[in-house]
């Protein structure tokens, strides 16, 4: 392809801003001249993958985003869903992968800080934090340091600001050796008629900067996040931002206090690409211009240039357009909280972003060029054939090893207890945590009411790698199942799409297929996407991560008394398995952990069955016919039963017709284990029959032992100690 490259601007300067030649040509065409350095920086920040979604936009539009409870879908700071009584839940998940690999504590901490701001920008008080974390294999020399740093960083930020971190997921796989994933999710609660948006309005209205001062930290963070890593990635440390949760707490309280008044017309947090993206977002959404005097921006360092001020990613800052009549009142609130409050500009009718400094014009860019002319690509893609199934000779596996294999599985880093992690997070502050970490979903009461929201994050990257379509379906369905098992009505999801380099057709193919799978699942389950984030170029030295569409699901529990946990409640209950079991061992935890092989096909989800079984569980919850429930996911039936025992200390005696590895460890989909009070068994069976649900009695709860008839037994206490030792030992 011939480049029209005839510009005076140094080619190397353009490239170092992550812009392609053709993109630069478009800038020149749009402006009718060459950009100056500040303008080049602004284009670079707006047109990188992280801010522009240029590779993903086309495909993201295919996701279902509407539903009767959707108040706000994708496109704002976060999604909003109706949770009755005039209340809404506001939530989103976002990645902070590259910074966390370079500097795990600060990277993870500011990831939490950023997503929290997205939520309270909309007028919601954050009530829960969750996360989805991927690390390299434990034997990789950096894994221990990264794990310890990320967990401490998430805790450090969330604990200090006083928002409980109630749930999450973590797994380890060599594909993340050089590129970990740190995805943070926040859920907030607001009133439906008090949601704040980012569209600037009112010509002449003041543009106000609040929060921390601006320093040189994080300049070009978003551009860094849109590039691949190599061996010198650690040199990028200066582009990692530093978080101050204390200031964020003040900012949160000040913003929520001001939001009670009728003063804010528009509000946008300064996240990736700081002042640049926040000002352009507000102007673009409001179809107006903004004129900013950069001299007025509160600065932490001396002699900062326009370029630096516009690209700094200093944390804990917000931009607002306010009612001029309320300026003094607003200033007073921010002063009370010891925060900066400066009028730095005005809304104009020019539809240009104009930046002045010391009386000199530093930039003048028509907003529409920055936003509407932003590149959008339909990248080439090739879809890899799903991995073929692998047949295992049932006679090759000796059933006598089942108890030992179970212990290997529940003590493996990918299935063992995460207690070491969640005990470092304050998961009870705000005193509304009804279900703590370690169950299927975390449940947090809506303050002052008798209802609650249930939340779960999930994704199985190996499923996605070997069959991206089914993997995409699975990630959505797994969260749905977790909400159902907790007694919640699933409402909507947020997605955090972590993939490799989209310029490679096979990576783009993974993206396309995951989206297709997610779309199918969301549609079938009436479980739309309301917010999300895309993180591409997760590669190191040309090796991409496994496709990881992390999903965060949110559901509603109308009466907290109906909440279900995975913990067995009493002895002599009947334990039933809901759903069909063929014994699908392909791509299972049994194979990867016990046989040390990643082979076989991803299990297929029948969405009709899924929906039917899920509705059945909710009916059982409604009719008070189950005591506890747990979805049967990673590791299969026996791991699920063991988790229910470990969570309560109550044992279970299992006596089933089939007694082989495929039955006990197969990862067939659409299944749940439920505990039924002996007195309710007949009623339970009747409801199952009415709905033609496949149920199977697998055993009864007993005292303190896991017994498998004809195979062996082990004490719940021993299982628990095996399950809980890996993390403390590894990180010691």
């Amino acid at each position: 392809m011939t480049s029209t490259w005839i510009h005076k601007t140094e080619q190397s300067l353009v490239e170092s801003h992550g812009l392609k030649h053709a993109e630069f040509d478009n800038i020149v065409k749009g402006l009718g001249r060459e950009p100056n350095l500040t303008e080049l920086g602004i284009f670079s920040a707006m047109w990188n993958e992280h801010c522009s979604y240029k590779s993903s936009k086309f495909w993201l539009k295919k996701l279902p985003t509407t539903g009767e409870r959707v108040v706000q879908g994708p496109g704002e700071n976060a999604g909003v869903i109706d949770i009755d009584d005039g209340d809404v839940a506001v939530f989103k998940m976002e990645s902070h992968n590259h910074p966390s690999y370079i500097e795990p504590y600060q990277g993870a901490a500011t990831g939490v800080g950023g997503i929290l701001r997205d939520i309270f920008t909309m007028g919601a008080r954050p009530v829960a934090n969750l996360n989805a974390l991927r690390f390299g294999e434990p034997s990789h020399p950096k894994t221990k340091h990264l794990l310890a740093g990320v967990v401490e960083g998430i805790g450090g930020y969330g604990n200090c600001i006083g928002i409980p971190t109630v749930g999450g997921e973590v797994n380890f796989h060599p594909s993340y050796n050089g590129n970990i994933l740190v995805n943070a999710m926040t859920v907030g609660i607001a009133k439906k008629d008090k949601i704040f948006y980012s569209a600037a309005a009112g010509i002449g209205n003041p543009v106000v900067y609040v929060g921390s001062k601006t320093g040189r930290d994080g300049i070009h963070g978003a551009t860094m996040a849109s590039a691949e890593f190599d061996d010198d990635s650690e040199d990028k440390k200066p582009t990692v931002q530093v978080g101050d949760p204390f200031t964020e707490k003040l900012l949160l309280e000040a913003c929520l206090e001001l939001m009670k008044e009728e003063a804010i017309i528009a509000i946008q947090d300064m996240g990736a690409a700081g002042l640049t993206s926040s000002s352009i977002e507000m102007a673009s959404k409001g179809n107006v211009g903004l004129e900013i005097d950069l001299t007025k921006v509160p600065m932490r360092a001396s002699n900062m240039t326009a370029y630096e001020l516009m690209l700094s990613e200093s944390q804990e800052r917000m931009l607002m357009v306010i009612d001029p009549a309320k300026e003094d009142m607003a200033r007073k609130i921010f002063k009370k909280w010891d925060l900066e409050f400066e009028v730095i500009g005005r809304v104009t009718d020019t539809k240009n972003l104009v930046l002045n400094m010391h009386g000199k014009e530093e930039a003048c860019i028509p907003i529409n060029i920055l936003v509407e002319d932003a590149p959008e690509y339909q990248r080439d893609y090739t879809i890899s054939e799903p991995t073929k199934d692998y047949t295992i000779d049932p006679n090759s596996l000796n059933a006598e090893t089942i108890v030992d294999d179970l212990i290997k599985m529940i003590s493996h880093p990918n299935l063992c207890s995460r207690r070491w992690i969640w005990e470092q997070y304050d998961h009870m502050v705000m005193a509304d945590t009804i279900v703590r970490p370690g169950s299927d979903a975390a449940v947090v009461r809506v303050h002052g009411t008798n209802k609650a929201i249930a939340m779960s994050t999930d994704c199985s990257p190996t499923y996605c790698k070997h069959n991206s379509f089914e993997g995409g379906k699975h990630a959505v369905v797994e969260t749905w199942r977790n909400l159902i098992a907790s007694g919640a009505l699933p409402i909507a999801i947020t997605d955090c799409m972590n993939f490799g380099n989209p310029e490679k057709p096979e990576i783009m193919g993974q993206f396309v297929e995951c989206i297709r799978g997610m779309t199918e699942a969301c549609s079938a389950l009436n479980y739309p996407v309301v917010s999300g984030n895309v993180s591409l170029y997760n590669e190191t030295n040309g090796e991409g991560i496994y496709p990881t569409p992390a999903i965060g699901g949110v559901g509603l529990i109308k009466n907290i008394e109906k909440t279900k946990t995975i913990a067995f409640k009493k002895i002599d209950s009947a334990i039933y398995l809901i759903g069909k079991t063929e014994g699908h061992l392909g791509n299972s935890h049994y194979l990867s952990i016990v046989q040390n092989q990643e082979i076989g096909s991803t299990p297929i989800i029948n969405l009709d069955e899924e929906l039917k079984n899920g509705k059945f569980i909710l009916e059982l919850v409604n009719k008070d016919l189950i005591l506890s429930s747990h979805d049967v996911g990673e590791g299969g039936l026996l791991v699920a039963a063991t988790e229910m025992s470990m969570s309560s200390g109550i044992g279970v005696s299992i006596n089933t017709e089939r007694k082989n590895h495929a039955y006990y460890f197969g990862e067939d989909q659409g299944r749940y284990l439920v505990e039924v009070d002996a007195a309710d068994e007949q009623k339970f069976k009747q409801v199952a029959e009415d709905h033609k649900i496949t149920i199977e009695l697998i055993g009864r709860t007993i005292d303190a032992y896991l017994m498998i008839q004809d195979i062996g037994k082990v004490s719940v206490k021993d299982l628990k100690s095996e399950s809980e030792k890996w993390f403390p030992n590894f990180t010691r």
């Binding site: 604990n159 006083g162 707490k249 005990e423 997070y425 009870m428 705000m430 005193a431």
Partner: protein, 223 residues
């Protein structure tokens, strides 16, 4: 019954305490901003948990010099009951209303989980309900330390309010979550009207939250 909850920048358990007091006593406490310089008549002052001033410098150090803490110290010396919970305990130590120090947990990690404590003094207004109670801790610096002389003094004056124990009330090494000397979870001043404790009774006031043993402490002083 008039109670007050002090609010510092960075307090984050202020609302939780207010909810607990209202639930137990029937009347909501008054929230007092750290820049205030007076408190009217008070029957109970609570210095809540959180990260006052971001825990910068040293936990509780900056808060202890704020205008309102001078008032709290005066009130405490005049006999008004004062409870400091978690960061509030750290602040009360920094004001010297309570003895000793709270240093980093011996695990060097933040710890959030349920523990058990046992009342060691049944004569104070806070520990009338002589109890073994389950409630959460959530802190990074809760490891109680005191010099030999100080420790002797607080023991001689019956100032140990609570010790960490197991669910049966046995005080042992396994039940000590953070390395505190002699499993100390809470202490009193020598006139027994000031209590500091690391566990969070306000998070244990109803079964839905995992237990309601925390009520005993509030009931003891409020009723």
């Amino acid at each position: 019954m008039k109670s007050h909850v002090i609010v510092f920048p960075g307090s984050n358990c202020d609302r939780d305490v207010a909810v607990a007091i209202e639930k137990i006593s029937g009347s909501a406490p008054e929230m007092i901003w750290h820049k205030n310089t007076s408190i009217e008549h008070s029957d109970l002052i609570i210095v809540p948990g959180g990260f006052s001033y971001g825990d910068y410098l040293r936990c509780g150090a900056i808060a202890s010099t704020s205008p309102i803490m001078h008032v709290v110290v005066q009130k405490a010396k005049a006999g008004v009951p004062v409870i400091g919970i978690c960061n509030g305990f750290q602040i009360l130590i920094e004001t010297s209303l309570l003895d000793g120090a709270l240093i980093r947990n011996n695990s060097l990690s933040f710890i959030c989980r349920d523990i058990h404590i046992k009342a060691e003094n049944s004569t104070s207004i806070f520990t009338k309900n002589n109890i073994i109670a389950k409630m959460p801790i959530a802190h990074n610096e809760g490891n109680y330390f005191a010099s030999t002389e100080t420790l002797k003094k607080i023991k001689d004056h019956d100032q140990i309010a609570f010790r960490y124990c197991d669910e049966h009330g046995v005080v042992n090494e396994q039940a000590n979550p953070n390395g505190s000397m002699e499993n100390i979870a809470g202490i009193l001043n020598d006139t027994k009207n000031v209590l500091g404790l690391m566990p969070h009774p306000e998070r244990a006031i109803e079964i839905n939250l995992g237990g309601d043993d925390g009520k005993h402490i509030f009931e003891s002083v409020l009723n």
